[in-house]
């Protein structure tokens, strides 16, 4: 207990005497990113989406011949697709659901009156997504190597694909979280995850679909990401400009739309 006397006049010397001030910006963003990452790793549903499902798909479809993945080792086909899925699960599905409920429960509102600027909150969210993705990539590539994966290509190109994919999916996820009701975001984000898992060239090669459908599906961000990663990692191709272009297009449009339409409460 604090013992205090006085009438609110005079010099402020008590325990609650005002001493306002914002923490340094890098410290605020680091603290926010750490908290967001902890919240994500503590959430069972999120872990199912970001870790369990990609891992299971990789292990299951590499070991059991269910889907015809074309010539070569199944794991060489599957790993790029599962990496693309991992990026989508974190940057799009997980981020959309988490942010949707933060908006619903006034977390975004409360943080908006804290010293942390809005762009700082967004930077922290991005950092948290990137940290999670690094953990996912480390885990999934370790499993893939254990299953006999032999990747090719330039790691810088792979990184460029992953970063642009993250930007595109983050834009789409935040657009959804900032405009729809939390429950609608939850349902829609999971549905989109499922549809893109099947129709986005993640585990089922796009050439299994009718030709006209293939062209449309190829324009989806997850298809562009898995196709680009596959070109590089499975076939040792150079820079997949087409896929990078599609991802960049999605990123620009989705981030701009999220910036314009996102509502904080």
């Amino acid at each position: 207990m604090t013992l205090t006397t006085g009438t609110g006049t005079g010099a402020a010397t008590g325990a609650y005497a005002p001493r306002p001030g914002a923490a340094p910006l890098p410290r605020m963003i680091a603290a926010q990113a750490a908290l967001e990452t902890r919240m994500l790793l503590r959430n069972g549903e999120q872990l199912l989406l970001t870790v369990v499902i990609p891992t299971l798909l990789l292990v299951l479809f590499s070991s059991v011949d269910i889907v015809d993945t074309g010539a070569g080792e199944a794991v060489d086909f599957l790993t790029p697709g599962v990496l693309a899925l991992a990026v989508m699960s974190t940057a799009f599905t997980g981020q959309a659901i988490a942010t949707g409920f933060e908006r619903r429960y006034g977390v975004l509102k409360r943080l908006a009156s804290s010293p942390l600027p809005r762009w700082g909150l967004m930077a922290a969210k991005t950092a948290s997504v990137l940290v999670t993705e690094v953990l996912q990539v480390v885990l999934l590539t370790a499993i893939a190597f254990a299953l006999g994966w032999s990747p090719h290509g330039d790691p810088v190109t792979v990184l460029a694909l992953l970063v642009l994919g993250t930007a595109a999916f983050s834009g789409l996820g935040l657009l959804m979280a900032g405009t729809l009701k939390a429950e609608a975001t939850l349902a829609a984000a999971n549905l989109v995850f499922l549809l893109l898992l099947v129709g986005g060239g993640v585990i089922v090669p796009l050439d299994k679909f009718p030709p006209g459908t293939q062209d449309v599906l190829g324009l989806l961000p997850v298809s562009a990401l898995s196709d680009g990663l596959r070109d590089v990692l499975q076939h040792g191709a150079g820079v997949p400009w087409g896929d990078l272009g599609i991802l960049a297009g999605w990123a620009v449009v989705a981030l701009a739309a999220a910036g314009k339409f996102f509502r904080w409460e």
Partner: protein, 310 residues
């Protein structure tokens, strides 16, 4: 005596805020000085809209708002570190623990309070590893209060800080508000508890239909506190004018609701005797006679014609 700073902590002039066709705040003027200011009013009076405009959440449709001399929207970056905000509900990650969230908010500030001491002070130590969504309503509210003060702000906004709290938790909140005031922190609180305003506030602003209907110290609003109220019930429709003639000149008498009468004035044994003998002369059995101080509740009822807790 209270110090009167040149710049009021909150200065609202002719504020208008509409949501679609509905006008929530309709030309509101409010000046809050250092100390505790209570914003009192029934649901829908515009309390939360006014406070949230001061916090920078809403942009005025008309009028000006200055908080600590700053524009809450355009100078938000400057203002935010200096204020503490307690929302009416929510504001915490559903999976976060109480101490975790409080420590986080502390980290956003340069010179935060000692988090452990604050946790103990507000009785949040028992929350342990429980996540926010599983805390009781009272615990959630105390956490929101702690989050508002942990950054050592100059000015704290509390939106219905004790709504739904049990008496013990309410008293703990009141004690903290008194300590904040004693240490030089200004507080703007919205409430629809009269007692809260009477207990805590240096200044009370009563809102109704988006305007401040009256503002002053609780004593001023209750006319200095020297005047008292005598209430009694009897049969409806008594001749109040006749009763008034029997009373001293500076008194007033009224039938508030059928059969419920109120006399306002300097209530002394002589006046009580006057009332009872008037009743005797008119064959009235005055029931439930009570003598009480004129309360903010009465002021409110007179000004707005509404019960506070609607």
């Amino acid at each position: 005596m209270r110090s009167e700073p040149v710049v009021p902590v909150v200065h609202v002039q002719a504020l208008v805020k509409r949501y679609g066709a509905k006008t929530a705040v309709d030309g509101l003027d409010l000046v809050a000085r250092a100390g505790v200011t209570a914003v009192l009013g029934p649901n829908g009076a515009g309390k939360t809209t006014t406070v949230e405009t001061c916090e920078g959440y809403r942009k005025p449709d008309a009028g000006t708002v200055r908080v600590l001399g700053l524009d809450p929207v355009r100078q938000s970056a400057e203002l935010r570190p200096r204020i503490g905000v307690m929302l009416q509900s929510g504001g915490v990650y559903s999976g976060a623990r109480a101490d975790e969230m409080l420590r986080h908010v502390a980290k956003l500030h340069a010179h935060p309070l000692d988090v452990d001491a604050l946790i103990e002070r507000l009785g949040l130590g028992g929350c342990g590893r429980t996540s926010y969504r599983r805390l009781s309503g009272g615990q959630q509210q105390r956490l929101a209060l702690a989050m508002a003060v942990v950054g050592r702000p100059e000015l704290v906004f509390l939106d219905e800080p004790t709504a739904g709290l049990d008496p013990q938790a309410r008293r703990a909140t009141w004690d903290l508000v008194r300590d904040l005031r004693a240490d030089g922190v200004s507080v703007i609180l919205t409430t629809h508890y009269m007692e809260e305003a009477e207990q805590l506030a240096d200044d009370v602003a009563i809102l109704d239909a988006g305007r401040v209907v009256v503002q002053g110290t609780p004593e001023e609003l209750c006319r200095g506190g020297a005047e008292n109220t005598l209430r009694f019930t009897g049969r409806p429709g008594l001749d109040v004018a006749s009763l008034l003639k029997a009373l001293p000149a500076d008194s007033s008498a009224a039938e508030l609701t059928p059969g419920s009468y109120r006399v306002v004035g300097e209530i002394d044994p002589q006046l009580l005797a006057t009332v009872t003998s008037w009743c005797a002369q008119h064959g009235v059995m005055p029931d439930r006679i009570s003598v009480e101080r004129h309360t903010l509740e009465d002021v409110f009822l007179e000004l707005t014609g509404k019960e506070l807790r609607s």
